[in-house]
Symmetry: C2
Subunit: 421 residues, 2 copies
Amino acid sequence: MDATLTDVASDCAAAKSAARTLAAAPTAVKNRALEAVATGLLADADGILEANAADLADERASGLSDALVDRLTLNRGRIEAMAVGVREVAALNDPVGEELEARTLESGLRLRKVRVPLGVVAVVYEARPNVTVDCAVLTIKSGNAIVLRGSSYAERTNGALAEVVRGALEEAGLPVDSVILSSGGGHDAIAELATREGQIDLLIPRGGEGLKNALKKVATVPVMYAASGNCHIYVHSEADLEMAREIAFNAKVSRPGVCNSAETLLVDARVAAAFLPPTLAQLSDAGVELVGDRRAQADAGGTAVKDATEADWDTEFLDLKLAVGVVDDLDAAIEHVNRHGSGHSEAIVTESQQAADLFTAGVDAAAVYVNASTRFTDGFEYGMGAEIGNSTQKLHARGPIGLRELTTFKYVVQGDGHIRV
Amino acid sequence: MDATLTDVASDCAAAKSAARTLAAAPTAVKNRALEAVATGLLADADGILEANAADLADERASGLSDALVDRLTLNRGRIEAMAVGVREVAALNDPVGEELEARTLESGLRLRKVRVPLGVVAVVYEARPNVTVDCAVLTIKSGNAIVLRGSSYAERTNGALAEVVRGALEEAGLPVDSVILSSGGGHDAIAELATREGQIDLLIPRGGEGLKNALKKVATVPVMYAASGNCHIYVHSEADLEMAREIAFNAKVSRPGVCNSAETLLVDARVAAAFLPPTLAQLSDAGVELVGDRRAQADAGGTAVKDATEADWDTEFLDLKLAVGVVDDLDAAIEHVNRHGSGHSEAIVTESQQAADLFTAGVDAAAVYVNASTRFTDGFEYGMGAEIGNSTQKLHARGPIGLRELTTFKYVVQGDGHIRV
């Protein structure tokens, strides 16, 4: 069985054909396929690790940063965690067939609004092999076929993982082309994928603004951008400063390479002198590079804070780097967030309910936190089992893209010979 | 008060600024604005009719077909009907602030998923003045600002209507730039509108495939296509043929110029000889031009049926013209519909529950009817009060675009100092 085809057009056609069968598959059959994926991952762990070792030994991998090598690396524990994740998705409710509305219209027609799969989903993603499995099982469970475009850095690992998934589909009696790993052709192939109208029902590009902007220029299929997170922590004048320090530290330091980490810390001018010295010292001790405006520098209490450039406020550092700004009040904080944020996750720390309400109402983002770290924006944390990405757009899905976000609906309308007068 | 600005960029900026105030407006204030629109339409009826007469007297209007002139024409009755429609929207529930989910996560965080306005909606539409008012009141009620791009044929009428709406906004204490009629600049201006990222949160082009394809090439803002309807009526072998004849006649003849009218009649081979002669005779008597395949021609029973071209099966005639085909069975009907349909509205006529279930599951469209005319796909008929268009895409909204479809949501998450370990 060849998990890798090279021609985008034939990949899409094969997926479209498989999607029709998968859309009608009973929940039990889809769950049987997912159980076989979990079993297969554990049974083929040696082969998967061998493929991963070959990807890591490839001379191209030598150019990757430590953080990126870590994302690419599998070990037995990570494969076991993948299998656990697959079984968690199997345990979730099947969204397909869910009745969203049922009512009788004035005309007497009986209308039902029923959840159905989208059809074929395509995902373009970075060199993270677990994404291959997460995406495949979420689409299988939601009755969608998927075309996966992973990074060439992870080519061998992804090939081994896709082979496990396709073997599991076959075992469950589902079309193997429900999951297709498409490779080769570079940027041209991605552009082709983005223009297969009638075959690709949804394209999800994961990763940075570069991919997003490139696709905006060419895409004609529906696209949902799982784009960057330029997240802010705003420390209000009525914040519990100890709580604020812990939240800011967690949001920046706990996992700086992911999209729900904080990139900017905004502090109300009334508490800057009290809040900044211990907080910046702790961040600096943890290896965080600090940049900031004049007022943040003035209240830093001795910790080195370099001049922030205009670009710094708009940058997702994905690294141990933080921009620090002092703002006059809540309104100025909201305005800063709405101007520079990417609509992902934003947080206020405050003991004032009124300030919390104004911030959550005024900030235009998928998730707005009160007295909590932005790091919680995540399909697992939100009880969605897993996610295929985090949407920073407003249409269809906002925030974690899970099973329900991979569906659409249709109106099924029953009459007895009804005509419209 | 000048209802018409000419510069797209300044129109969008003004709407964006107004949207922030409108998003926070209480239901009662928005309803007061709508009531003032209804009152204003009736009070200014003479001025509106005068503007409409000038549009109709314009030499450009002399090139329009009777059907298009009819769509452009207002009279006192139609203005009264608009006012009734505005009050119906005022009576609908306000979608803004609706709590879609509320739960406590495993981490202890309290998560609420809350409906919020999109921001700024732009609509590009044909020469139908009532659309100006329908769109404006739906967006006001859903807390969105709107940039309207009507047809230049209706320029004076739209200007008079927009002035009524903006006067009503002022009366209610809402920003007048919540509703902006943007004109001038032709296709370049529409392309500019489609690329105002960060200002336009949703662009809805109404009308044909030409506008859709032009926008697909340039649009970078989120677009929801309210596109054409190539709808089918399929007469199954177990249909009540009398019911089928009435439904086919209604779907074609009752209002041929709208998108939920039927363009193709598919008949099961087993009932073609019995069904087609009386049905085609009735259609022909009503002035319907018939084109069809060989088998339909053979079973036509003497009614003239011209050869259908390949293009006919893919065409939204928007006129008294119908393509007629004979298919072998249910599967062939589903395949024909999925290949040629535009995903709008499809119908089966059958007494078999099994055939109905297979058709509604197998056909990929916004609305699938059993024993009813496709003409029912409509925001009013669906109890949504009105619609801003009919979506033929799968993401976000499918079918009638009403108040809820003009909203998005945000997650508001409350913690007590929660950090992620």
